[in-house]
Symmetry: C2
Subunit: 206 residues, 2 copies
């Protein structure tokens, strides 16, 4: 198993950003840090996120101030023979950039990407967004100016005297899966489960 | 099902902080925001986190500057009949506070809490930390001065004309579980799986 690595492999960064739907977006307001979670999708080298036009902090980000975002996935626990050598397997990215609010056709296109990214293959099952809905939605594009990516997939690395002890050592993976879909209480009788949902059921999320 | 709520229920905050092992910690460095992921545990009303004494950003936090942290869990996808009404079920907390580095017996106690919090019930299976290990570890306590907690557990809330359409609507849960433990390649023959790991196998993580 490789080590703990920091890499400038953009494909690894993109794979993480495509797999994890929630980012943690930090900015400075009145000299103080604020970090907020939000769903996002990747569009080439950019991040797209949306929210209500009433969201106070998405409106702050709209002014183009600096943003840092953290995206990570915990893949399991590494049990060494000491607390000191124990660790986690994870992938994480830290992004730096600024946001711009999108308008017009760019905004409509981005919203489609957001819907289809967060709810895979759902877009074609839905009616198009209305003008009113578009007007009530804030759509931000974060251009990534700098980023770092870290991946830790180590086995325990205990010193010999600890390996000689009776303590177990190993790895306990964590796996996230989609469960069984539940119908909305207001679903009309006879409407079958959406194909986009049927294909996700039981599969790994990220 | 209740709605999307912001609550000042401290028990709900604590349950989230106890369930989720990774937080995203934001601070200001040279007027710019930086957000970094790190494992943490809750100790009463405080957050404990540890890392190497060589970690540049944990050292920055040691000076008592303001910190904001975001902790969240995604519990599933809410499929409405439009992109606009589609959403997610989640719980999230945003914390504000400052960190102090712990020393001496406080530090040793906190490190035990961190190990046993991140690797549940593991502490009693391990030898105690050595002085050298303690010296190489930075242990920060973040005192939470302000926090907010949000929980969204909605069904779709479509308007009547969308309910009348043929689109499916419902909820797709996401469940994270511990998988099957793997022995470390350097595990000595005859050492059984740790009891702390055996009890986690297959169970929900958060």
């Amino acid at each position: 198993m490789p080590e703990r690595v920091t890499t400038n492999d953009k494909a690894a960064l993109h794979a993480l950003l495509d797999a994890v739907p929630i980012g943690h977006f930090g900015f400075v307001e009145h000299s103080s840090p604020v970090v907020m979670p939000n769903a996002f999708v990747r569009d080439n080298d950019d991040i797209l996120m949306h929210g209500s036009t009433g969201s106070w902090w998405l409106r702050k980000l709209s002014d183009g101030r600096e943003v840092s975002a953290s995206v990570s996935i915990l893949e399991g626990l590494v049990y060494a023979r000491s607390g000191f050598e124990s660790s986690m397997q994870y992938k994480s990215a830290v992004l730096f950039g600024r946001c711009v609010p999108l308008k017009g056709v760019e905004k409509a296109r981005a919203l489609d990407l957001v819907v289809d990214g967060l709810l895979p293959k759902r877009l074609s099952e839905l009616r198009p967004a209305t003008k009113k809905e578009l007007a009530a939605t804030l759509l931000l594009k974060m251009r990534i100016d700098e980023w770092s990516f870290k991946s830790s997939i180590m086995w325990p690395e205990d010193p010999e005297e600890d390996i000689a002890s009776d303590a177990w050592a190993g790895f306990l993976p964590i796996v996230s899966r989609y469960g069984d879909p539940e119908n909305s209480p207001d679903l009309r009788p006879g409407i079958p489960l959406a194909a986009s949902v049927a294909r996700l059921r039981g599969s790994k999320t990220f």
